[in-house]
């Protein structure tokens, strides 16, 4: 038969039924209703390419619009990071766009800060208020007294505003509260931080080692794709995690390590590799310095030494070390991302970097590779930004954190309490980050907020931090706005455009418009000479010699794949100024820090208490998605993971804690969480409990998320500061469990 299936179906039910019966089927209704399968008709009459902002990975999307409504958002096959596939958050973008709790109009505070009482005002009134407030701070304290906290691609407009305004105090919690220690550790060892997306070749790795990273639950789309690809090709996983993570369930070796002892394990692994000559001696001779010092340093750090520290049997340490070494150089020790755990995190990252060097995986296929960027000139702005102002106020008065390469957001918070830093900060602009959960110790954040002259939030949803602001400016979601071009370094260099899919709902405005309008009110209009973001983006694309029309149609400009590693013809390059991998760090020695990573014991939870660990769920991006009703369906709230054996006899519990029961968590300082469901499971050690971050929201206007689950942030009243780069290690809090009254 030459008819296509579609035409065949169109012939009609009777013919189809006849054919089916003729094929010998006995089901009564075979084929008769073949074309009665409903078409949900969600294909758009328009499809617009853009890039996602449900997290910060920036995957390419194609948004379907039907009758003016976005029906679905799917992966853009042309985009190198999504390759046509989206994670649940990206696919759930309409849950954000149509969130009934979105900020609708500009708000001005009418009661005390933090009481979350506002009146709606016009954009003109709100922006005038912000402009006047900023100018007043500038008049009294200078432009540097204004800080910007920012996260996300829309932040570029406000960073540009700060440059024009003349303040260096622009910080993102994604550094000192997240990936900062890793950046410092790799910078010290190889001479460069890693950035995002990390230049790692997961897909070609034959062994992948995860140190506390729970990739797969931590849903960085491209990395999860590559991880699955590697697993599909037979790669083995070694997973070090106190929790039996999803990745651990796929691992050849799961090392259920005692929290806080990773450095001891890493040193023991090095001991095994050096003792057994399993490292890449030729590579190290060519590319590294400090091997003999390292050898001496780890000579006594045997698996037997590490056993009582880590709780990991010596043979498990040895066997896993051998497996890791067997695949070198295609043996990838994943650098992790959220790495602010215990305050010695830069040293742990150093140990991971050194291990990678022993494996010869820097510059090699299946290891750390080289990425490239496409040419993208800036928009030509003739106005000169102010020169010669003060340095950032993010360090304590006496100095510190010498290896930090980005502004320390928690330091900006500290500088907002009078007398803490070289000068005081007096005003905060907050773009798209809920500082109440992003920064450690909420009490300090509140203290800083209470003393400020001006607090302004720009957000899509009424996040907790909005309740502490004087003015709240409602931003349009990423589907309703244009933004700057995404131009990350990648193995296939590319540019991606963000463009308005549907006009902004309510009275929300795109970030570029807000920043430009604000600039106009404080005499900085000449720094924003573009008509709108579209014109700005088109000008940059044209200046780079890129095809604007094609970029807008396909969402991307693709470069050629570049050589990324030695196997592809690119010589191993160590960007450190010495040209050599620093197994021993002279720089750290000069600064008075350990030149080789040392294991120091951390305080342990007292009896009856548990170390609080936190992580991610694939359906959520911190607290930013917890109010998204679509994403809430498969993951309605977080749970506290409690070891099942421990749950049988918890202190203060007359009966065993049952799975699904609600408990309160109370930390060492008396901070309490809301009632949260217990996940009683074998999948976690007995000395710690685990929460997915972002829940337990206290913002009442988050109609879905308010009060659901428990906030790990509220329990982080204590943190350990990394003296090398200022990271705030947050896994140093201990909680006990209290049974919640059964709700009626």
């Amino acid at each position: 038969m030459t008819l296509t299936r579609r035409k065949f179906i169109q012939i009609g039910g009777a013919a189809a039924g006849g054919a089916a019966l003729a094929s010998g089927l006995t089901t009564r209704w075979w084929g008769l209703d073949a074309d009665r399968v409903e078409d949900p008709a969600t294909d758009g009459d328009r499809v617009v390419a853009s890039y996602c902002e449900l997290c910060f990975w920036g995957c390419g999307v194609r948004a379907h619009v039907k009758d003016g409504r976005v029906t679905k958002v799917v992966g853009n096959p042309d985009h190198p990071l999504s390759r046509g596939m989206l994670c649940p958050r990206g696919a759930g973008a309409t849950g954000l766009l149509y969130d009934p709790d979105r900020l609708r109009r500009p708000l001005v505070r009418t009661q005390k800060r933090g009481e979350d009482v506002f009146e709606e005002v016009s954009w003109d009134a709100a922006l005038n208020r912000v402009g006047e407030g900023l100018l007043e701070v500038k008049r009294r304290h200078g432009p540097e007294a204004v800080a910007l906290f920012t996260h996300g691609s829309g932040g570029t407009w406000f960073k540009h505003f700060m440059k024009a305004w003349g303040s260096p105090n622009v910080g993102a919690p994604s550094y000192a509260q997240c990936r900062g220690p890793r950046e410092a550790g790799y910078l010290l060892t190889f001479g460069t931080p890693l950035g995002s997306p990390e230049p790692i070749d997961l897909a070609n790795a034959r062994v992948i080692t995860l140190i506390g990273s729970h990739l797969g639950e931590n849903m960085h789309n491209t990395q999860v794709q590559d991880l699955a690809e590697a697993v599909g090709r037979g790669a083995e996983l070694v997973v070090v995690d106190p929790r039996f993570s999803v990745a651990a369930s796929k691992a050849r070796y799961w090392l259920p390590i005692k929290p806080g002892t990773d450095i001891a394990l890493l040193l023991a692994w090095m001991n095994v590799m050096l003792a057994e000559n399993a490292y890449d001696a030729e590579y190290l001779a060519k590319h590294a310095v400090g091997l003999e010092e390292l050898r001496a340093h780890v000579a006594d750090k045997t698996p037997e030494w590490a056993y009582p520290i880590t709780g990991l049997r010596p043979e498990l340490i040895r066997d896993s070390a051998r497996l890791i070494a067997s695949a070198r150089p295609a043996s990838l020790v994943h650098p992790g991302r959220h790495t602010t755990w215990y305050g010695d995190d830069t040293q742990r990252a150093r140990a991971m970097a050194i291990l990678s060097a022993l494996l010869g995986s820097w510059g090699r296929r299946g290891g750390y590779v080289s990425h490239a960027k496409l040419s993208l000139p800036p928009y030509p702005v003739t106005a000169e930004p102010p020169h010669g102002g003060k340095g950032a106020a993010d360090r304590p008065k006496k100095g510190g954190f010498p290896v930090a390469t980005e502004v320390i957001a928690s330091g900006l918070c500290d500088a907002s309490v009078s007398g803490q830093a070289l000068y005081d900060l007096k005003a905060w602009l907050i773009y798209g980050c809920n500082l109440m959960q992003a920064l450690p110790d909420r009490r300090q954040t509140v203290k800083a907020l209470e003393g400020l002259d001006l607090v302004v939030s720009i957000d899509v949803l009424p996040a907790e931090i909005c309740g502490w602001s004087d003015v709240v400016l409602p931003e349009a979601t990423y589907l309703e706005r244009d933004d700057d071009i995404a131009a990350p370094a990648y193995k296939r260099p590319f540019l991606a455009v963000r463009q308005e899919v549907v006009p902004p709902l309510h009275d929300s405005k795109p970030g570029w418009w807000i920043a430009k309008e604000l600039a106009g009110r404080v005499g900085l209009a000449e720094h924003f000479p573009w008509k709108d973001a579209r014109e700005y983006v088109d000008a940059r694309l044209r200046a780079g010699g890129h095809d604007v029309a094609r970029a807008r149609e396909t969402g991307v400009v693709l470069g050629r794949e570049v050589a990324t590693c030695e196997e592809e013809g690119l010589a191993v390059e160590v960007p450190h100024e010495s040209g050599k991998i620093q197994l021993r760090s002279e720089e750290l020695a000069k600064l008075g820090f350990d030149p080789l990573p040392q294991y120091y014991p951390h305080e342990e939870p007292p009896p009856g208490q548990f170390r609080l660990l936190m992580g991610r769920a694939p359906t959520h991006t911190f607290g930013r998605t917890v109010n998204n009703r679509l994403l809430a369906e498969p993951y309605p709230e977080n749970e506290v993971w409690v070891n099942a054996d421990v749950a049988r006899a918890l202190p203060g519990f007359a009966q065993p804690l049952e799975d699904g029961e609600r408990v309160f968590l109370v930390n060492q300082d008396g901070a309490r969480s809301g009632p949260v469901r217990a996940k009683v499971t074998q999948r976690i050690r007995g000395d710690c409990v685990y929460l997915v971050h972002g829940w337990g929201q206290t913002a009442k206007r988050l109609g879905y998320a308010y009060g659901r689950g428990a906030s790990d942030s509220a329990l982080v009243t204590r943190y350990a500061v990394d003296p090398i780069m200022g990271g705030t290690g947050m896994s140093v809090n201990f909680v006990r469990l209290e049974r919640a009254e059964r709700s009626a």
């Binding site: 299936r5 579609r6 179906i9 089916a20 089901t27 009564r28 209704w29 075979w30 084929g31 008769l32 209703d33 073949a34 009665r36 399968v37 409903e38 949900p40 969600t42 029906t71 679905k72 799917v74 992966g75 046509g84 596939m85 989206l86 994670c87 649940p88 990206g90 696919a91 309409t94 797969g216 639950e217 849903m219 789309n221 999860v224 794709q225 991880l227 699955a228 690809e229 697993v231 599909g232 039996f244 999803v246 990745a247 369930s249 796929k250 799961w254 259920p256 694939p618 359906t619 679509l630 369906e633 498969p634 993951y635 070891n643 099942a644 054996d645 499971t681 074998q682 999948r683 976690i684």
Partner: protein
């Protein structure tokens, strides 16, 4: 040759991220609380000797579908390629099919009819993949025609260790889990 649509779910690749679940919800405009797909996690053993299987699940599009036999109105039927479907206009929402399904694959739509996975037949007919397959970041889901020995799904079910859920149900499911 009559098509026999089937799916292979690679449990080694699946991380249970729920992308399939969300993509299904938006593609098929499902109501709040209604799911045509879901994630199952099955853990065995005791700390630290644990194993876990993660499965992206949906209707098994059985070759001997008990739901179709149970349906008193003829709404539940076998459509193109062996896909089990529900004709909304014929469905009274009596839930006989829900009770007879060994996989819990059906739910009652707020508009009164029973709803379930169709393997996105509306997309498949246009030459596209089901929405869950298209979005899956781990490429754990493979859809195709099992009657075509050259298809990827046929190849996978031949070359890999395969199981079906509740093999004793007698329903002859067409979703295969690669373990």
């Amino acid at each position: 040759m009559r098509k026999r649509y089937a799916m292979a779910v690679d449990t080694a690749r699946c991380v249970g991220c729920n992308a399939c679940v969300i993509a299904c919800k938006t593609e098929n405009a499902l109501p709040s609380g209604g799911f045509r797909g879901w994630i199952a996690e099955e853990t065995h053993g005791a700390f630290p000797g644990l194993s876990m299987e993660i499965r992206s699940e949906r209707c098994n599009q059985c070759s001997r579908p008990s739901c179709v036999s149970a349906c008193p109105t003829g709404a539940s039927h076998v459509a193109d390629g062996g896909v089990v479907a529900v004709t909304r206009s014929k469905c009274t929402g009596c839930k006989a099919c829900v009770a007879s399904c060994p996989y819990g694959a059906r739910y009652v739509h707020p508009e009164g009819f029973v709803d379930k996975c169709t393997f996105c037949l509306h997309r498949v007919r246009e030459g596209n993949l089901p929405a869950c397959v298209e979005t899956c970041p781990t490429r754990a889901l493979t859809f195709g025609d099992l009657a075509d020995p050259a298809s990827r799904v046929a190849e996978l079910t031949r070359s890999r260790r395969v199981k079906v859920l509740q093999p004793g149900s007698g329903n002859e499911p067409n979703v295969f889990f690669l373990t």
